[in-house]
Symmetry: C2
Subunit: 247 residues, 2 copies
DNA sequence: CGGTGCCTTGAGTGCGCTCAATTAAAGTGG
DNA sequence: CCACTTTAATTGAGCGCACTCAAGGCACCG
């Protein structure tokens, strides 16, 4: 069990975007008993069909949820950045309906379900923050339905670039104006429901329009406003700007 | 306030798919103070940007969530059947990121947020069932991402027909083998991320393949297995078959 | 019985796909 | 540090699924 107080600092930061935590809750979260594990890129943190009894929190690196059709086509369902809890649904549901895999190498903190339940029961402000975490993740999934269902390739790509920019920045992982996209074009294709070839052409198209500048996997955007408009991006669905309200 | 014990019976039925409720919880749910309201088809129950202080439960009729792109294209994000709570996220989040509208005429029960919070605090088995309700809805949204992102028109359509069949049947609203699809082809297009014209052609194609038989909006499927296979449908993501476990 | 949605069908187009080859980058081991 | 392998990115050519535009048919309703 890790007792290093800094291990869960990203998690705390994430929660505090969503709700104010009482000092006692903050302290208790940092003392949640977890096992810290270094994981390679592509490591499965969860497989469809599993019945986990633990809850995984991403400490460093990036991860993604995925699901496959019977024909084997993959769709990436969400991207995860440090501080996010990956397994919350398994506090309440049994069998995993999707897989979770690391996008890059990184570290995860693994908590026992019973410890998390105890923490939730003991600290209402923590429970509230976790619920908002869950609700926001569901909101993002709905936005992806809209994005994939109703936006064309350029707009769809720009939208995901915007979302990632905002989320990464809110976790203090990068500044405004650009970031390293920790993802291959093939994976991006599975995020967007397109083919890798078309991802490549779409990135080039966005570059030709002056909306992004690329170097390897680093994406810079000279004008946030232009990229935002191209991606039809409105951060409301991320629910980061709502004053924390009393229960 | 309605005190008719049968008003919230569909809600109770829905919850009991997900978790066993203690008798006291069951009784308390049926006595939740709600305002029953008859609503016409197309009535908005929630608009993007609203900050609701109530929680709406669908008692009869069908409803759907929707969101529009800046260009005005609509995507339907979920379909709702009687017994489902439509507003759960607003117990924890402020501003609505999507709209909810009636698909048919029907009735809704409107509860005050504070009453629901009190009920959640008082009855852990209710709280557990509600959380599973929320988690399953999120799981369905993820399946829709996969469906829209990675399945072709015929398979995508068949998948939605299967999902709706299972959900409607679990609420006891119809038998196996068919149901009335309470939706225009234009709305179906917005469910699937396609055009109305292509929905029409896809329905005809499924019919030509012998997978469905149509009469107006009534869909019958001679062989559940065939439709299920065509739609690459696996009900795991609906989490209806999991034994209720202790906390 | 004439409106008014909704469904249906035809014809033509195009966005994104497939197949395939090349180039560039990132590992890997000697 | 360089040859070799592997993985990722890029580009070209051709195709097809789903789209657009447009007209006609059908059912329900006042």
């Amino acid at each position: 069990m890790s007792n290093d107080k800094s291990t869960l600092a990203p998690f705390l930061r994430k929660l505090e975007v969503f709700a104010e935590l009482k000092p006692a809750a903050r302290a208790a979260i940092l003392e949640l008993p977890v096992r810290l594990r270094a994981v390679e890129s592509s490591t499965f943190l969860l497989r469809e069909g599993d019945e986990p009894t633990t809850c995984t929190i991403l400490v460093s690196g990036y991860a993604f949820r995925q699901k496959r059709t019977g024909e084997g086509a993959r769709q990436i369902l969400s991207l995860h950045i440090p501080g996010e809890a990956l397994d919350l649904q398994h506090l309440y549901l049994g069998v995993a309906d999707h897989s979770i895999q690391m996008l890059s190498r990184g570290e995860v903190a693994i908590a026992q379900r019973k410890d998390l339940h105890a923490l939730l029961d003991a600290h209402p402000t923590f429970a509230r923050a976790m619920l908002r975490h869950v609700m926001v993740e569901a909101s993002i999934a709905r936005e992806w339905v809209l994005n994939i269902g109703r936006r064309d390739a350029k707009s769809r790509m720009a939208h995901v670039l915007c979302e990632f920019a905002v989320r990464v920045q809110s976790q203090g992982l990068t500044g405004a104006g650009g970031y390293e996209l920790p993802i291959t074009q093939e994976q991006m294709a599975d995020v967007l429901g397109m083919t890798p070839v078309h991802v490549n052409r779409t990135l080039k198209a966005l570059e030709a329009l002056g909306l992004i500048v690329r170097d390897r996997r680093t994406i810079n955007f000279p004008s946030w406003e232009k990229l935002r408009d191209a991606g039809d991006f409105n951060r409301r669905y991320l629910h980061m700007d709502e004053p924390v309200r009393a229960a």
